[in-house]
Subunit: 478 residues, 2 copies
């Protein structure tokens, strides 16, 4: 079995949580976590635990040990000094706590491998899924679970949505959470798993692949503990939903940095790249890519073909978009004779009816609307890239309405490119909130379309090679 710890629901949707190391002292991590639970409006039962406790903590009755709590505990969040973690975890086992998150650091990442092994042994003894140590823990916006111990005013809050995010690194985790908050898509679950002493990449990927709230998975990975099991899980996961992955340590030096960070073995970049490609992962090269790719997969339909119709209200940016297509193995569509006739009739003489279609600097909602409608119906066009420069006289929120109208039909992928300042930003939010991805440059849009197509082709090939067998695939690929 690839995953010994398949059910992480008690960890992400617990009905009762014990916070071990909870404290009335605002400087303690246990205090921050406890306060977080209160702030996000967690509706389950909350039990602060502290060996030195002698009264309520943040208004909640406190306990000296998890063994003193008479209720059933779904999740223990452990924020105590590393040396006492194994003993505390053992108490959790005896108290039949179902899952635990160890946020404490001070294990393999600083050479304390024996202590980490001890922790793992306790977890396995009770067959308890334990996340960490040395991690930020978990966040589930639906169940209002948040074990993060970072200053809340420093990180913007993501909205609820269909993208789940897994990060070995807490730092990358907090940064990406902060960045996601400014994107049009929302978050389902966040899992930061640190040293992966017990629950590892394979367990988490397996869980999210089967999670109904998760539509797209994004993954920051430094290394894989159990290669064979990870591949087994991945093969099924990528057939179910898109898994976007960024690998830390893709160079020899980066790989050394990984080892001193989470004590993972990064493995050779080539080996990972080959595995990612073979098993249908969508590989991101930079943090930006994670977000770029997440938003196209979250909102746009799949397509296996790469003929892109570029529509623009600025000639120069149309040129850059054309270059960007070909740099990313896409190509400019050639519109059908019918589209040509239709557009020639509808457009003023200044518009040269060919792709890239330059609607001119005074293009308004009508021109954009007719162009997108016509090309959406054109059998020679597989996807549309609309470059909408809101700096021009004709572009305003009436153009936004057209983009939303055609970008949310689910028929053909539509991506928008709108680089700019504050006026543009206001319109970008409108478009993204409605479910159409907006990019800051033609290149990032082209990269994202290329990722969408490449994944679609992977699914199609997988479906063909499996003939009529259905190995977990629940997605229409034709």
């Amino acid at each position: 079995m690839a995953s010994k710890y398949a059910d992480l629901n008690p960890m992400l949707q617990p009905k009762s949580v014990a916070i071990i190391g909870a404290s009335s002292n605002p400087d303690k991590v246990g205090h921050v976590i406890m306060q977080n639970y209160i702030n996000v409006g967690y509706s389950g039962r909350l039990y602060p635990v502290n060996i030195k406790a002698d009264g309520p903590i943040l208004g909640f009755k406190s306990y000296k040990s998890v063994l003193d709590i008479k209720e059933k505990i779904d999740l223990a969040v452990i924020a105590v000094p590393a040396p006492v973690v194994p003993a505390v975890l053992d108490e959790c086992g005896r108290a039949k706590v179902r899952t635990a998150v160890v946020v404490s650091g001070g294990f393999a990442e600083i050479g304390e491998t024996a202590l980490q092994n001890e922790l793992a042994a306790v977890a396995h003894k009770y067959s308890m899924p334990v996340l960490g140590p040395n991690c930020l823990g978990v966040m589930d916006l639906k169940s209002r679970i948040d074990t993060l111990f970072l200053p809340t005013f420093k990180i913007d809050k993501p909205q609820i949505g269909g993208v789940s995010f897994v990060s070995q690194s807490g730092a990358v985790g907090s940064v990406v959470l902060d960045l996601i908050s400014h994107e049009g898509f929302g978050l389902a679950k966040f899992i930061s798993y640190g040293n992966a002493a017990v629950i590892d990449e394979a367990d988490i990927l397996n869980y999210l692949a089967n999670d109904v709230d998760t539509k797209v998975i994004i993954f920051y990975l430094e290394g894989v503990k159990r290669g064979k099991e990870f591949i087994e899980v991945a093969r099924k996961a990528t057939l179910k939903k898109p898994v976007i992955i960024i690998k830390g340590g893709t160079t020899e030096e980066g790989s050394k940095a990984v080892h001193s960070h989470t004590a993972s073995l990064a493995g050779s970049a080539e080996a990972y790249h080959a595995v990612f490609e073979q098993f249908g992962f969508i590989e991101a090269e930079d943090l930006d890519d994670l977000l770029y790719f997440a938003k196209i997969f979250d909102t746009q339909p799949l397509t296996t073909k790469n003929r892109i119709a570029v529509i623009t209200n600025g000639g120069g940016i149309g040129v850059l978009a054309t270059d960007a297509l070909y740099h990313n193995s896409l190509r400019m569509a050639e519109m059908s004779k019918e589209s040509e006739r239709k557009l020639r009739k509808a457009m003023p003489p200044i518009v040269n009816v060919r792709l890239p279609l330059d609607l001119a600097g005074d293009a308004d909602d009508k021109r954009f609307g007719i162009a997108i409608e016509t090309l959406s119906e054109d059998p020679n066009v597989d996807a549309i890239m609309a470059l909408v420069l809101f700096q021009t006289p004709g572009a305003d929120s009436s153009v936004v309405a057209e983009l939303i109208k055609y970008g949310t039909t689910g028929k053909k992928p539509l991506v928008v490119v709108s680089p700019g300042g504050s006026y543009t930003a206001a319109h970008k939010i409108m478009i993204e909130s409605a479910g159409v991805p907006v990019y800051d440059s033609p290149n990032s849009a082209a990269r994202s379309l290329a990722a969408l197509i490449s994944y679609s082709v992977y699914l199609e090939n997988a479906a063909h090679s499996n003939g009529n067998k259905n190995n977990g695939q629940d997605k229409e690929t034709h």
Copy 2:
């Protein structure tokens, strides 16, 4: 002579401007331009000209022809229908107008080559530097010149600074202006030259290379009219100041799109790339690069060596930065024994003293300060990349103070990487306003450092190969 029209000062710093096509009708381009001049506080003399004028325009006395103005005119901005442009320009010539900007479109870009040739012939007859046609014109923040006819509320205003921006395309021009407004650096001059019927790339590059207000040049180029002259100008310009260039039409299809846009011949991508490299241009691959590169060249000293010290308060992002260095032909510095001793003494045990230097999630201004100070003085370190995650508990504006302290000494390049949301954005502005470039990802910072180093090496090689000859170089390169 490479440039027949070397002196563009009367165009960019005119004491008197005639706006031909000025109008009381707010829908007319001539009205928008006239209004712009008034809004930006142009302090020279302003003369609206309109053949149908029968009273003041926007409060200024109007003229039926430029010939009726009895004063000396430095610049005529021409916004009249294409067919009458040559005649209007001829009147300007007879009136001894010194320079002209033709914003009107309707020339070679829509096949009207004869009309454009006629325009050029008139300009040459009077040896008058004429910009355009089919362009946005010019902007000079110092002399408060602004011929742009775009809605001002849609484009944010750049601050005054040392970066000049040249764009063949008006659309790319307006977008980049809008983007620049959100960067820490400011604008000196903006020149959008459209079809380049008279003044071309070579003339503009030559002018800006000699312009005292311009420290860094960024250039969006679709094609070059006079290859030999352009190269002759470029060879000198790049020895004087950094010239960052993005080429539209670097693919066969993109090159076709260029032709239908400004009727330029784009030439082969390889040929351009070879020229850019040989003559010391800094080549940008995307719009983002233009801004990334501009800010490092605007603020940081040159260095020919590539040993980078990465300092971070987040392990995972340190891993990504390490990868980014090696992907961009840079390498991680190895700190001297002395630095090691110093840092070991100053840092808490949790900090593993090696590069990338992970100062841990609770790193504060003291830890960052000592680390940057020590590595700044280390002879084994050529530049510093500080990854400051403002999501962490210890990072606040006291860290900003340390970054500014060491990032503005002019001794070694310092770049900051701080991805994030609104809390981060507030700190990013503080850092950039003080003259230290901040990037959103390790990769964009590494790309920019690589560009800085590559240009520094170019200058050093050029200095060596020229021995003691001084061919216009006024920069210290050793």
